[in-house]
Symmetry: C2
Subunit: 234 residues, 2 copies
DNA sequence: CCAAAAGTGTTCCGTCTACACCCATGA
DNA sequence: TCATGGGTGTAGACGGAACACTTTTGG
């Protein structure tokens, strides 16, 4: 282990890693990159990078997000997930990583990022399975990200982060169904989200679908917590 | 800012800081130390210290906990809270800190720790108020710790971490009342905690109080999540 | 008219709240 | 016996699940 010291204090490198989720093709997908260098050259990993001098952790996460997805962090939900610092998690030496969770609507192809690294969307079911190896401890980070995202849909309004505004109640329900991998009763779901104060703001507009009655369009409301919560049953 | 580099990568120091709560004298208290050196010499701060070589973050937190409270981390609830890394949060240079939340029963006087630093229990109301300055960004960390602890009583069984086994339902209720700063209906609370499967294990013993009917004694059950949750009302 | 999706009404049922009430002990 | 806290019973309010039903569009 190569570890320098400042005084009697060991020094370590700090990275941020991003668990970026979107709902695409009826499934929850995560953005993974193919590593272009050692260690773990060629294997899949979460996007991320070193925290720079004078940069706060949230800033570093937002910068990496912009570099990887070409989307301004303003338009996404971004929150700190957890910090991982097992001594041997990176063979290059002591590196601890602050993991972030990002949720966004179906984004433009991420390959347009400034990094030349190949980035692509991978269904979470695939990424999480034992058949898909991920670099470092990224599998564990991803699993925790999924759990956090699923839990947060229950008692917060973050699900709207997956929707492009304006959106319909059915689109929002689709987000819940995909993230939770369940079916929800459309009528009861409609009542819950429209009655939760501050969750949805009606635009007064409607969208005519290919089939069926036009649906009212909404934007995100001011509320961040969802009362009453929308609980997963079973 | 004194920051060394390894290759092109900036190196930082990493600390763990502990938000240690207990219920003492009918109020929620936090363990604070009086700093014995610069910066912030003499002011109150959360206990903590540098992460050592080859030490995982959880290990470092458990070690600091043992040093500060002289209590084995096995007997306490210990979980990662959040990581703080604002560039100027420590005047000595770039130091990021991984904050941990620890919950335990009314502990022996913490001054017996191996560190010579003066440690003492401070009511959270006092510590959190604007009249009590805390070192670094510790006020923010403390506030987030309080919020986390309060929220976790709702949907997990961590409240039992505040109780010495065996304990009565009234003692557990007292924990909820103190942490939430509310009064709870004793009869309804009793039903909720005894019906939640895996929360409490009856010992078959009773404790005869100074006054009133003897109360059944319980130990912690296997459950970590609380279903149904015990919600704060209002 | 039919199919399909949006949205509303209604019934049933379980949980929470409030509070009356009984139980077990020491004084 | 009384006072006190432990614990149970119960009626009403509230919210969720299930599902029948109405609305609004395109074909």
């Amino acid at each position: 282990m190569i570890t320098k010291r400042r005084g009697d204090v060991s020094l370590v490198s700090v990275t941020v890693d991003l668990v970026i989720f979107t709902v695409r093709s009826d499934c929850l997908q995560v953005l993974l990159i193919e590593r272009g260098k050692e260690p773990h050259l060629g294997s899949l990993a979460l996007p991320g990078g070193y925290v720079r001098d004078g940069e706060d952790l949230d800033e570093a996460a937002a910068r990496e997000l912009l570099e990887e997805t070409n989307v301004d962090a303003e338009r996404l939900h971004l929150e700190q997930l957890r910090t991982y610092g097992a001594p041997a998690r990176d063979p290059r030496g002591r590196v601890i990583t602050v993991a972030y969770l990002a949720l966004g609507p179906d984004l433009p192809t991420p390959t347009a990022g400034t990094d030349a690294r190949a980035a692509r969307w991978v269904p979470v079911k695939t990424a999480i399975s034992d058949e898909t190896p991920l670099a470092f401890d990224h599998k564990e980070i991803l699993r925790e990200g999924v759990e956090r995202a699923r839990a947060k849909l229950e008692y917060t309004t973050v699900a709207t982060a997956f929707c492009l505004e304006p959106f319909t109640v059915a689109e929002l329900r689709h987000v819940y169904e995909v993230v939770w991998d369940t079916k929800l009763d459309p009528s009861n779901f409609h009542r819950k989200v429209t009655r939760a104060i501050g969750f949805l703001v009606p635009t007064g507009q409607r969208r005519v679908p290919q089939l069926g009655r036009p649906a009212a369009l909404y934007r995100r409301g001011y509320a961040t917590t969802l009362v009453p919560a929308i609980l997963r049953t079973g």
